[in-house]
Amino acid sequence: MNHIAPGARAGIYHYDEIDRRFVGERVEQFRKQVERRLAGELTEEEFKPIRLMNGLYLQLHAYMLRIAVPYGVMSAVQLRKLSEIGRKYDRGYGHFTTRQNLQYNWIKLEDTPAILNELADVDMHALQTSGNCVRNVTTDQFVGAAADEVVDGRVYAEILRQWTTLHPEFTYLPRKFKIAISGASSDRAAVRVHDVGLLARRNEAGEAGFTFYVGGGLGRSPFIGKLVREWVAEEDFVAYLEAILRVYNQYGRRDNIYKARIKILVHELGLDTFRQEVEEEFERLRGPKYRMAPEIVAEIRKHFAPPPFEELAERSDILERAKATDPAFANWVAVNVAEHRAPGYAIATISLKPPGGIPGDATCDQMDLIADLAERHSFGELRVSHVQNIVLAHVKQDELYDLWQQLDAAGLGTANAGLIGDIIACPGLDYCALANARSIPLAQAISARFADPIRQRTIGELGIKISGCINACGHHHIAAIGILGVDKKGTEFYQITVGGDPTLTTAIGDILGPAVTETEAVDAIEAIVEVYLANRTGEDERFVDTLKRVGHAPFKERIYAAD
């Protein structure tokens, strides 16, 4: 087997023999389960929960396989394997999702054990991507690189991976359980819309600790995570989370799937009672068994040691010269490149949202190219962001121009990170069996309408997010402009919300008015943008701020006045 060789690569956790043996055993079990299903020894009713535990869903056209990318970080070798699988077993592309993972849309059940076997060769799998377990923990896509980072979230996300994967108590929770960690001063992981959202921080003594938000979530009943405890010391991190999961496991509702998430439990018990239950459980649990010793944390942290950065000047003359001669590149740098904490380095976001494109889709050729570029420019490591883009976290500023030219030649050089073209869209009715309406065509029409990079920059920070049904996989609730697909007597309609916010000032958007058709929706978005531009006090007043100041009225008037 060609396991990933440890070496001078950045931030990739290397599986040990225990991890490998476990993943290997699960693949073998599943192979036999598939054989028994195909032979009729298992009914669909018996088999379905088993296949879901291995990340395999049935969608409209075929099976869909969801590959785990723990905390969104992977190696170039792993991405190349994903591309190889996409070519061999799928249709030459993959879809990167808001859960920082990858989905294939055209998988055959009979091929799945072989696919899982190939994934295991590069320490990958589809565990904890489905079912009522603790799902793969998500984090900031700039982790370990961002200039504003306080604590490295990967360390704790990896601890959680090891702690939850084989935890018998957490395999049959009342419902799925999603945890997100952010360790920077700006929240890029949408922590307050997760079942548990963790802010990793440092106290005055420089020790790491966590703020716990519990009960956030989207879907049918959106809730913003509530502050359960301001400070949990690092050594109590696992104990406190275990206490929360135990309270949830005991009181969470198993009788009604719509009321089974922890957000409903927190809501129904009330925050104070919930907190009291957790604190009592925490007191019982606290002790040597659950204490996370500093040595353990240090051991895990070693895996995430910074890559061997060179000592470079703060600013790169090569970069400045390239910007001066190539305005398109200068625009990409201004929009898609973020500050790195090491002098002379930068964080580059590769947009998977070309104007008119399918958000999050990448062809296998593009994946191969990104893997090559990650190797050449970012220590062989890359990240998937929850906005469905790819991030090369450690690029020398000197090399940005070279990187961008290669990206641009492959249709990956779009400059729209965080702008109106950077749309999140779920698969919707083009693929998803639960959908009420299509999401992708609307995303394509909107990004094409706003293709002009100068217009996008003028509009500034403005997120559009689209879901094809109330499950809200496209995060529409927390978008500055959210779009929800609904079915009205067999016709697709779209409900527009405004004022959502995915950052720490989390807000759920409000419905602007009656749902509109697809064509009307694109015009309505343009009208909203025009009203914003006409009303803002200046370029530094963001859309959400203008909306707060002027309210819904001018927007409603403009969109609904005609009828």
């Binding site: 299903r37 195909l38 032979a39 009729g40 009914t43 669909e44 049935l58 969608q59 409209l60 056209h61 075929a62 099976y63 249709r91 055209w106 998988i107 055959k108 059940l109 009979e110 399918i358 009715l429 083009d430 693929y431 069996a433 959908a435 309406a437 299509r438 992708i440 065509p441 394509q444 067999g490 697709e492």
Partner: protein
């Protein structure tokens, strides 16, 4: 076969081994193209569906077996809902994929 629009049904499933969309055709054989699907009067659809389910599940052939509405447009039967139109053709955003690509 009744000709009144909206009162027709067809039966679909996903093939177990590969997930491919199939339709119940003539003589209770499963076919891959919607054009070859058998059409049932609404009154007969329940019995046909029950038989198709029993057969598909009994022989480990198909899963998620269900009936859906069909209407005729310019004399050609088409699924009423977008969901089954997309199942019959493929993703509307990737005309190179799915059954529409083979045509």
């Amino acid at each position: 076969m009744p000709s009144q629009d909206g009162s027709l049904k067809a039966i679909t499933a996903n093939r177990l081994r590969d997930g491919v969309v199939v339709f119940l055709g003539a003589d209770a054989a499963w076919v891959e193209a919607f054009a070859d699907a058998a059409l049932f009067a609404a009154a007969d659809a329940d019995a046909a569906l029950a038989a198709a389910k029993a057969q598909a599940e009994g022989e480990q052939f198909g899963v998620d077996v269900y009936a859906f509405d069909v209407e005729t447009e310019n004399g050609v039967p088409v699924p009423v809902k977008m969901r089954e139109r997309i199942r019959a053709l493929g993703p509307s955003v990737r005309l190179d994929l799915g059954k529409q690509a083979a045509a």
